[in-house]
Symmetry: C2
């Protein structure tokens, strides 16, 4: 296999490397992007092959780019609550939550998985924006007693139906009792890790948060060894699977310019929660007035299997440009092109007919419900 | 020329594109990195050829990745002053300053060029970190009346001895009167731009800040046309030239973990300036106590021409590891390997002998003064 030429994405030593970087070189990554100032392997094989492997076997992803913000100190609960409209009072120690970090105007700054490691001890596993700087800025005049930093913590994802076998081989049967979004702090022959029942796939999956960056290669190889009987393979994060599940990608499908109500994440907003939080006033106004645009599911009937869009595609209705597609790709098991589109709210109803300017030309499309794959229904996986 | 395969750095449409992206495709970029969530062309040719072209002719760089933070409103001067230890009272409207943005602990958040467009109107042309989020966080509880946002502003650099001919052809002779770090607001056949006498090279150079992203291709082609008689070429930013000049690259040579006194940028700190600023107390303490480590210039006598380091290299002294090299490369006109190293303060004196673990093996090195190329001395350029 041809080694990947790093000079295509790295000029000098500005970008950070994951603790798993050296280990993953043995498996021939075919591309890297950059995420939180860190190199991020995006694939090792054809994207569709990686997708099928995730659905039928088990895959290992280096997502150390999900850098953590750690918040500790006597006011850590109150300060962390200030970052998000989600009510954290129902988040027990040992539990996680998917949260939105919001700006004073209600914009979406980030959408991390939050872990509560103690009454006043939190981690935020970040999408690609500097929440560390946002939190430092907020803390400067907040009058709260907190410490904010980026700890030596680097996640991996183990995703797919055989992930249970792999983690139970590594950590024992107890790990199988973890409920969705719960975690345990443990170790593997002296390698300190947090194991969470989370992932970016809606498949069965786990994340291991390595707490000692010097042990990246050791942990990686232990996982590969435990996974060998189950044909584990390193892959990039599967965009096909996450779009099927209706999972959004911050920076692509939603940005700081969007609010939770526009993207269908109102379940993550508790306008009446007890603690102060950034954007409450703005979000209440938006909630009361309604939104002018929405992100919706679309099926694109182009007559061909669309390659994953590498830029937003214009969307028109009745001959006028009205929005754009943010993510669109071919779902091999649905045998459809699916994706997300930003539309004016009055066109966001199911059944609206659209035209999408795809890379291959104009194609008819229609607004459909999300998620595309209903977790309660069994769909053939091969 | 082989077109660059964008799927090596882009999976989906998460990363933003510069307004100059389409135009630059005609010139065959050979690699892209990511900077401020935006694709950044890093070279079109051999790095040494690009360096010589910069020294002897004129080069055009797409640095739209230097996203702007814009600060306006009645308290904009006071708020912008809060971001930086540099005294902004001496910065006139129409003038710029190279500034450090500091954290409450005195760490270096970013090192932008600041432009003052009005008494209460500022732009910060950013290195790779989300100062927009930091500023939004700071403003939340600061009790000041400011608006903070990211405007539609995208810089280009025109660098090299023939840059004067190119900008005077485009904007007339008046532009040649611009003093270093001064600017003028103008237009080119209806394309609104700000022209500054700045750059990342210590060569003669200008930056054009495009104020209408829909006109990127048009502006690019007008510059290429004006530059044709002078053999203008699109290139990446020249790391060789900026290291010769002692210019630091944020994220590589200095990070949030470092303070201005460690990296020799104390001239950008005015501890006694009138306005409040982030980190004053911490920086005063550091100033009084002195620093424990320093970034210094090194000459690496490896007996070969070093390729630009793609990770930090360990540095040892008397057999013990004491630091690391952040940037190191071959200077073709000095005919030396030069770079920067972090060292304990007591080893930072000129003449200290070191060993650097380069990609090609251990090599002797010595601490030397910076910059490597004295602007007052003429060094042959070919």
């Amino acid at each position: 296999m041809q080694p990947f030429d790093m000079t295509l994405v790295q000029c000098g030593a500005r970008l950070r490397r994951s603790p798993f970087f050296e280990a993953e070189q043995r498996y021939g990554p075919l591309g890297y992007t950059v995420y939180n100032h860190t190199l991020f392997p995006i694939r090792y094989d054809d994207l569709e092959k990686e997708y099928w492997h995730l659905l039928n076997h088990v895959t290992l992803w280096d997502v150390a780019v999900e850098r953590q913000v750690e918040i500790t100190g006597p006011d850590a609960f109150r300060f962390t609550s200030m970052l998000t409209p989600r009510d954290l009072s129902t988040c027990a120690v040992g539990q996680g939550k998917y949260v939105l970090i919001t700006s004073p105007k209600g914009g979406i700054v980030n959408d991390p998985v939050l872990l509560r490691l103690g009454e006043n001890h939190f981690w935020l596993a970040l999408a690609d924006s500097d929440v560390l700087l946002y939190a430092m800025g907020l803390a400067a005049h907040a009058g709260m007693d907190v410490e904010i930093g980026e700890p030596d913590v680097s996640p991996l994802q183990i995703q797919g139906p055989k992930s249970k076998e792999v983690v139970s081989e590594l950590f024992g049967e107890a790990v199988l009792d973890l409920r969705y979004y719960h975690f345990l702090e443990t170790e593997l022959d002296g390698i300190p890790v947090v194991v969470t029942r989370t992932g970016w796939t809606a498949e069965v999956g786990y994340e291991l948060y390595l707490r000692d960056g010097s042990k990246g290669t050791e942990l990686w190889e232990r996982i590969m060894e435990a996974g060998r009987p189950h044909d584990i393979r390193p892959t990039g994060p599967s965009d096909i699977r996450r779009v099927e599940a209706g999972i959004l990608n911050h920076g692509c499908d939603m940005t700081l310019a969007n609010n939770p109500f526009e993207v269908g994440l109102e379940r993550l907003v508790d306008l009446d929660k007890k603690e102060e939080f950034m954007g409450r006033e703005a979000l209440r106004r938006i909630h009361d007035q309604g939104v002018a645009r929405k992100l919706v599911g679309v099926e694109i009937r182009s007559g061909e299997q669309l390659a994953f869009n590498d830029r937003h595609w214009p969307v028109s209705h009745d001959g006028a440009q009205v929005g754009r597609v943010t993510s669109a790709l071919w779902s091999p098991r649905l045998e459809k092109n699916i994706g997300y589109a930003w539309l004016p709210a009055d066109l966001a109803r199911q059944g609206t007919e659209l035209v999408v300017a795809t890379a291959g030309g104009d194609a008819p499309a229609v607004v459909v419900p999300m998620p595309f794959v209903d977790p309660s229904k069994e769909i053939p996986k091969a």
